[in-house]
């Protein structure tokens, strides 16, 4: 009898540990998964035609990053229940690299043919005097981003985050999920709130505001625009675009904090209510084609060989810079290249409109040359 009483009591107290049993992220996962959409749009080169967005209002406002993806004629969004919507751009901000979209359409199941009648304009919610032309879609589950009072550095809006707090990112990185499948999650800790000195390939990343640094790996294709939540499932930030730190050259895992997002959304909605609808932004198509400076390095099948210059194309920037046959390429823009493959890979990362510094070894001498404004190459460098 005593034993039985003990077991019952254990069962009651055991509840505490049952709640913690499954990794402890249940609340965060439950909150994040239904509030994230899979985005499909324009892609080119290394920029993939898919991404992630976060629903921030019951009538279907979606927050995501500013990228080529949303430059498509029709951006499509799949909600967590597998329904497919069209998304149009409400507002975007090049400096903060953010975009605000609005879901439209009837919420078809995936791959459904678009229905012309549902493409009509749907008025903004909340703005006084706006007439709803069509019944609103939704209601969608959403994250609140707005702040009650204007945020300041000492009192940012949203739940406080301390370094070491667990965070969870939810988004469709690598396009693993399809249709109604739940998006991927990634977990880690919040490391610091700081400013970012970073670039995307060779371009400086324009955003100079605060970011949340995290140790979950979120610098992956498709992840930008993912929701970042704390253990209680509260929205704390939006995973930003893939960037490389200018200081450490590492791929940086970070999120744009909620107060920055709140300010952006506020401006976006103001613009929308004033009728300042924006056409799809003209996001400059980033050029990723390999540049050709006119050097051919020696390569032998699959073996890795030293990047000796085998041939210099006549009239090429390389020739003009004085590069000769049998020079050994040591570095490109301060990055060492040890093999011919590395040389090709490094060259492929270069933007076409910036000068390139190359260090060479000729005999026993070290030579530094600068090549200006290389031409774009239609064919990849061999």
């Amino acid at each position: 009898m005593k034993v039985r009483a003990g077991i019952i009591l254990v069962a009651v107290c055991g509840l505490v540990s049952i709640v913690r049993a499954g990794g402890g992220f249940e609340k965060a996962i439950e909150a994040a998964l239904p509030r994230v959409v899979k985005l499909y749009g324009l892609g080119a080169g290394q920029q993939k035609g898919y991404g992630t967005g976060v629903i921030i209002s019951a009538d279907g406002l979606v927050l995501t990053v500013y990228s080529l993806l949303i430059d498509a004629d029709t951006v499509r969004a799949t909600t967590a229940d597998g329904k497919l919507y069209e998304a149009s751009v409400v507002f975007h901000d090049r400096e903060r690299q953010l975009s605000l979209l609005r879901l439209r359409g009837a919420g078809q199941s995936e791959n459904a043919e678009g229905n012309g009648s549902t493409k009509e304009f749907v008025g903004a919610s909340g703005a006084e005097g706006t007439v709803r032309l069509k019944p609103t879609i939704g209601p969608f589950p959403y994250f609140e981003v707005s702040c009650a009072t204007p945020p300041s550095e000492s009192a940012p809006c949203g739940p406080p985050l301390r370094p070491g707090d667990w965070v969870l990112a939810a988004g469709n990185a690598f396009k693993v999920a399809d249709g109604p499948e739940p998006v991927s999650i990634a977990h880690g800790v919040f490391s610091a709130r700081t400013r970012l000195d970073a670039r995307r390939r060779l371009r400086d990343f324009p955003y100079r505001g605060d970011v949340l640094v995290i140790d979950a790996i979120t610098n992956n294709p498709g992840a930008p625009g993912s929701a970042l939540v704390n253990l209680d499932g509260e929205f704390v930030g939006l995973i930003g675009r893939e960037v490389i730190s200018n200081l450490t050259f590492t791929h940086f895992n970070y999120a744009i904090p909620r107060d920055v997002l709140a300010d952006f959304v506020k401006r976006g909605l103001e613009a929308e209510s004033k009728g300042e609808f924006m056409a799809a932004p003209q996001v400059a198509l980033e050029r990723h084609e390999a540049v050709d400076i006119g050097i051919r390095v020696s390569r032998a099948g699959y073996q890795s060989v030293l990047p000796f210059v085998e041939r210099v194309i006549r009239g090429s920037p390389a020739e003009r810079a004085g590069i000769r046959k049998d020079d050994l390429v040591l570095s490109i823009n301060r990055k060492n290249v040890a093999t011919a493959d590395e040389y090709v890979a490094e060259l492929a990362e270069l933007a076409a409109d910036k000068p390139i510094d190359i260090v060479l070894r000729r005999g026993r001498r070290i030579i530094t040359v600068q090549i200006g404004a290389p031409r774009k190459n239609e064919q990849p460098t061999p």
């Binding site: 034993v3 003990g6 077991i7 009591l9 254990v10 107290c13 055991g14 505490v16 540990s17 913690r20 049993a21 499954g22 990794g23 402890g24 992220f25 249940e26 965060a28 996962i29 998964l33 290394q46 597998g82 078809q108 199941s109 995936e110 791959n111 459904a112 043919e113 990185a173 690598f174 693993v176 999920a177 399809d178 249709g179 109604p180 499948e181 739940p182 991927s184 999650i185 990634a186 977990h187 979950a216 790996i217 979120t218 610098n219 992956n220 294709p221 791929h251």
Partner: protein, 587 residues
């Protein structure tokens, strides 16, 4: 079962007492945690979780294997799943060892063991090996991968980057970050169907190693990662082949076979609110079962299908020849189709040859386990004769007519021909057929039977005949080299619940087949776990014809445990199921 120590002192009660003691302690601990201040409470929770995880890692680490070709070459990982040293790894880890069948397996005790490659599953990227040189090995259990949920703790172990020099596995911990994922393969190889996604770090060398749940059960075999342009290493996206898929292939892999996955050669597409067949290849499984373009797919193997991806993902987890049930809708009329899957051919650089000795070992193991199930602990004589009475019930829905049940008696005495009596509707007696080996073989050769018995009945008779002459002979008198272990099949699903096999826990049988010249094969299926006879089927052709008898309700009669019911299905091509129920039998 291995028993250690004596039975004195009732270990069960001792264990009970230990449990109660531990329960009381943990109750006191958790209660004091619950009522302490929040900071110390959460510290306590974290410490307890850490302690649990460390204990699990300590427990399972000895079962993790560092798989390599030779001492100085990098390799992959693996995990032992039974005390005899059978283990799992990725096909791509041992692909280079398949020809010589030998490699090295290092355990956390620092010892290197010879590793023998057994069966391979190139489509599912799984392979089985056996470690040699020891009586007993530490092993881990396979868990239920369908119970895994997003957010569960996942523990990956193995030998990434060949870091370990003494074969101690590396451990990485993360969450399950996706379930039921589908990752395309290369042609018919390396397809990750219904796999588990994790953010526990998976790196080169982790391939073939286990993904454990919090309880230390194997929920998957790690083998694949998504990579960024940065290189081939962890970016938080690892994929593990689900344990439930692997379980269906283990019998074939143990038997040293080239395991093949199932296909029905039909594709579906997502349409508004429905998943619809858009291509059905003539002559293949879905076509033969009666699927047509435009049919709506509702469910497969008991699971509702909500996307084309889901269909491909689920289908990819079943072996070739596996029986699936599919629910479709045509003109708003739902239909249930039951059929066997066709075979998806993996691509191999060199043809795979089965190791006959390995296969024979499995045949002997299965038949011995069957024999001891029938006779119990004593070595009872096999029955000298058997009589079964059967009732045949027609499937009323098939042609709309209601046909009254028919009754049959089948009897057999050792050394005598089998007798088959149609008793008529009122058990009044009727046609009577004698059936011996000569007849049986003549029948398979395609010549006419000595009576007007309908083809279906003849096949049943034939299957019964071979079941009797093969399985009620003493094992010693059988020529086991005729038999071959051919992997697993599924115990036929019961529609009325009445004929559910007694050991339906796994729902699987291990199949031993024996060719009956000139063009027939009889396959016996023994229930996984208890070795009872679960199925007997005869397949012959062309054209492909099949009858399967499903046995159930095993009872002890005169010291022998034998089935007392059977259900028959025939005509796989048309997908229809005929039913016979069989009771009573007198040895």
């Amino acid at each position: 079962m291995f028993r250690w120590g004596s039975r004195k002192g009732d270990p069960k009660r001792l264990r009970m007492r230990g449990c109660v003691f531990r329960a009381v302690v943990s109750f006191l601990v958790s209660c004091s945690a619950a009522f302490g201040d929040p900071a110390s409470r959460s510290r306590k929770i974290v410490q307890e979780a850490d302690a649990r995880r460390i204990a699990v890692v300590d427990r399972v680490a000895p079962s993790v294997v560092c798989v390599s070709d030779s001492l100085d070459r990098g390799g992959g990982s693996g995990v032992i799943i039974d005390p005899q040293g059978y283990g799992l790894t990725n096909y791509h880890v041992v692909a280079g060892l398949v020809e010589k069948r030998r490699g090295l397996g290092g355990l956390s005790d620092g010892q290197l063991y010879e590793l023998e490659v057994l069966g391979i599953d190139p489509t599912g990227d799984v392979a089985m090996f056996r470690l040699l040189g020891r009586e007993m090995y530490p092993y881990s259990e396979l868990g239920d991968s369908d119970a895994v949920q997003i957010g569960d703790t996942a523990i990956a172990m193995g030998n990434p980057f060949s870091l370990s020099e003494d074969s101690t596995p590396s451990v990485s911990v993360g969450l399950v970050t996706g379930t039921h994922r589908y990752q395309y393969g290369v042609g018919n190889n390396l397809i990750y169907s219904d796999c588990i996604q994790t953010d526990a770090a998976i790196n080169p060398g982790n391939s073939g190693g286990p993904l454990f749940n919090e309880a230390g059960e194997i929920i998957g075999i790690n083998g694949r990662i998504s990579v960024n342009t940065r290189g081939r290493f962890n970016v938080g996206f690892g994929y593990a082949i689900s344990s439930n898929q692997i379980k269906r292939f283990i019998p074939a892999l143990r038997a040293g076979l080239l395991a093949r996955h199932g296909t029905m050669e039909a594709t579906v597409e997502n349409r508004t609110g429905a998943v619809v067949f858009n291509e059905v290849r003539a002559g293949w499984a879905a076509y033969r079962a009666g699927v047509a373009r435009g049919d709506v797919l509702l469910s497969l193997a008991g699971r509702r299908i909500d996307s084309a991806n889901h269909f491909a993902s689920l289908l990819g987890t079943y072996p070739s020849g596996w029986t699936v049930q599919m629910e479709i809708e045509r003109a708003r009329e739902p239909r249930v189709l039951t059929f066997r899957l066709d075979s998806l051919e993996p691509k191999l650089r060199k043809p795979f040859t089965m190791d006959h000795e390995v296969n024979q070992g499995e045949v002997r193991r299965v038949l011995h386990s069957y024999a001891s199930t029938v006779t119990g602990d004593q070595t009872a004589e096999p029955p000298a004769g058997l009589v079964w009475s059967m009732t045949r019930r027609h499937d009323a829905g098939r042609d709309g007519r209601i046909v009254p049940p028919q009754y049959f008696d089948a009897s057999w005495e050792r050394g005598e021909p089998m007798r088959w009596v149609e008793c008529g509707v009122d058990s009044g007696g009727g046609r009577e057929v004698e059936f011996d080996e000569m007849e049986a073989r003549r029948f398979l050769a395609g010549s006419n039977m000595p009576s007007e018995i309908p083809a279906e009945e003849r096949l049943i008779l034939e299957t019964l005949y071979w079941a009797w002459v093969r399985l009620f002979e003493p094992l010693e008198s059988l020529d086991l080299t005729e038999f071959m272990h051919v992997g697993a099949d599924r115990v036929w699903p019961s529609e009325d619940g009445r004929l559910e096999p007694s050991a339906a826990a796994s729902g699987m049988v291990e199949q031993i087949s024996v060719p009956i010249p000139p063009n027939g094969t009889v396959t016996f299926g023994f229930e996984m776990g208890n070795g009872q006879l679960g199925q007997a089927s005869i397949i012959y052709g062309p054209p492909h014809t099949e009858v399967t008898l499903q046995f159930s309700d095993h009872r002890e009669i005169d010291g022998l445990t034998l089935p007392t019911r059977v259900r028959v299905r025939s005509g796989t091509g048309s997908g229809y199921v005929d039913e016979l129920s069989w009771w009573e039998f007198s040895p």
